[in-house]
Symmetry: C2
Subunit: 422 residues, 2 copies
Amino acid sequence: MSIQFEINATAGSARLGKLTTPHGVIETPVFMPVGTLASVKGVPQDVLEELGVQILLGNTYHLYLRPGVETVRRMGGLHGFMSWDRAILTDSGGFQVFSLNELRKVSEEGVTFRSHLDGSSHFFSPESAMAAQIGLGADIIMAFDECTEYPAERERARASMEMTLRWAERSKKYFEEHKNELPWKRDADVGTDAPGCPAERSSADVGFVPGPAASGALRTPGQPGASVPTWAHQTQSLFGIIQGGMDRELRRESALRTVEIGFPGYAIGGLSVGEPRELTREIVESTLEHLPADKPRYLMGVGTPEEIALYAQMGVDMMDCVLPTRAARHGLLFTSEGKVSIKQARYAQDAGPLDPNCGCRVCSRYSRAYLRHLYASNEVLAQVLNTVHNVTYYLDTMRAVRHAIQLGERARFLSEQSGPKP
Amino acid sequence: MSIQFEINATAGSARLGKLTTPHGVIETPVFMPVGTLASVKGVPQDVLEELGVQILLGNTYHLYLRPGVETVRRMGGLHGFMSWDRAILTDSGGFQVFSLNELRKVSEEGVTFRSHLDGSSHFFSPESAMAAQIGLGADIIMAFDECTEYPAERERARASMEMTLRWAERSKKYFEEHKNELPWKRDADVGTDAPGCPAERSSADVGFVPGPAASGALRTPGQPGASVPTWAHQTQSLFGIIQGGMDRELRRESALRTVEIGFPGYAIGGLSVGEPRELTREIVESTLEHLPADKPRYLMGVGTPEEIALYAQMGVDMMDCVLPTRAARHGLLFTSEGKVSIKQARYAQDAGPLDPNCGCRVCSRYSRAYLRHLYASNEVLAQVLNTVHNVTYYLDTMRAVRHAIQLGERARFLSEQSGPKP
């Protein structure tokens, strides 16, 4: 058993759920902040915990290049490496290979690409992408897919979709054969505590050890690797990815055939690649129809606060986006009164909080004038505080969505109770 | 009354003291982290509070250029502007004018210099430097001095010292005439609460208002300007600065004549300007002899952890240095086991904490491998975490020094008690 997903309330198409992972329970719909290189840029992990982040996203492509999968694996996987006890999801590396590499070469076998750091040549296949994600040890990992470019001819979109399907089968096959090799499982093994170097044990040591024995392997709290929970005998979960470009028929086919392969969760990929927002919404809607209701649905790489609320209402359970963190670095802040470009001179002597309706540690302590000064002076604290606020805003948006679903469910329940009497 | 200084224990030349300021009590000897532009680079104010920072240093030269004194003054001074309720000290701007401006022109009247940001021309005199520091509203401010270059001929050092003495008199005169104009005093005035814009009141409103009335002006906690304490009727304190180059006779004369002018505290300036460390120590020692024992002594701009411990043992009460924060940005970390250059490949898979004897939030959570990865990947979190650790290390060093003085005093007391019996 790797994850459990239960739906506790619905309102229209929206679902309020609980996703139980080896590293904690996630309330859905959930927004996952992006921690590309094992860090949500500028924000320490204890602050992320305080903000209520339940799951982070790491980028396999970036972590594969720096610090390298083997380093992360030896440190107990991403959880141990970055000292984060809660859930983590890694993408497959596919999207970055496609978006950061103009010189990539795609074949049936996989993708040859050049590092954006030093130009060195690398190769990702479904198998090597799985091996990388098993080494990184996230709770949820993604099948290796080809992100179809936009715009694309129908035949090109079909061919790309077909390859993604073949790669999904290969991803699943490799994962099933190797899913016991994950780095945090080893720590839960025989109660021996070998701090920091689980890799030194032979692979023969790696076996299924249920509950009680696992807790014997817990390390001193606060030290790297301390995150191994008592459910550490569980494994990662591999999600499939739906492609099919901007074609509803292809999306339908991709969904049905991916579901046929069978995964514990499904992602909608290949969107937010330059298409108009209305088209994104249409494709999301038409893809969701064909996904099983009892499995988590993850929409990759969207969007604005308005968009993530909308997609959640359409029945999406998980989302991620670099927008809150990237915008923060450019001084663009999301508030209940609209977007604020904090660099503007109009804020230079504005003593008010960034967002009067926000209770985050930034809005409750600092003035717009101070935030403007930090940004204008290129102070590092600007990025730290801006990111804390924007991530809070996204998390608050999802909290409000979950609350609305709960209320909607209660309203429906109450209206049924008070319905026409016999 | 502005500050109070009491000495509670001594051990050799070292003194354990309490410096009471309008924004809290400071245990001395104290190390003051540098917050050049109203921010200790990368570290939020709540973290500084948790680390036990009792007083911060701000740089008048930098704040004068960005965001400008008037902006800070309107926001309630530095305390309100950066939302920091504890004590602040500002330097006079003199040192930066000398170190950042090769084209400066010095006359009896003051210094003409060019902004390092845009080349614009500016002028600092003792009077304008005082006006700037009154507008910034730190608890302790510094007389405008000329930092004598190193090396300097004896006649040049004498002339420079003489001008610093004349500037000290002018600084004191201007301060005495204007010390009631500070930004946070206005808030303590008549119990009216005009959030964020104390400057709109007429200067006639500004008068001495003792204790109880002041508390009526307290603002909502967490909002800019919330820092006004009930002792807000107090004023800033102006410290004098001893110069005299590397000449013990000139230092003696500078000390005696500065003390004659009369200040509530004295700083030793003009050191750490390129001279050998042994010479620094000699000059500090020979200057300290001529400073009154009952006033705080501030050694400006030093040094390594070993040096600040040494100077505290010699009888220095206050120190500041950019070293812990600047070194952190270059990946140089101070630990109980010596300096660590975290960028080195040897730490790439080091699961141990940065400093096994440090209890800071960095050492208790993250591994050297993770810190090395953050630095090597140019992640902003590297600067944040490195700075938190280095500042902790400096503060811990001073805590240990204070503890040692306390123990030394107790040892002396005990040995007197158990002395030869009649």
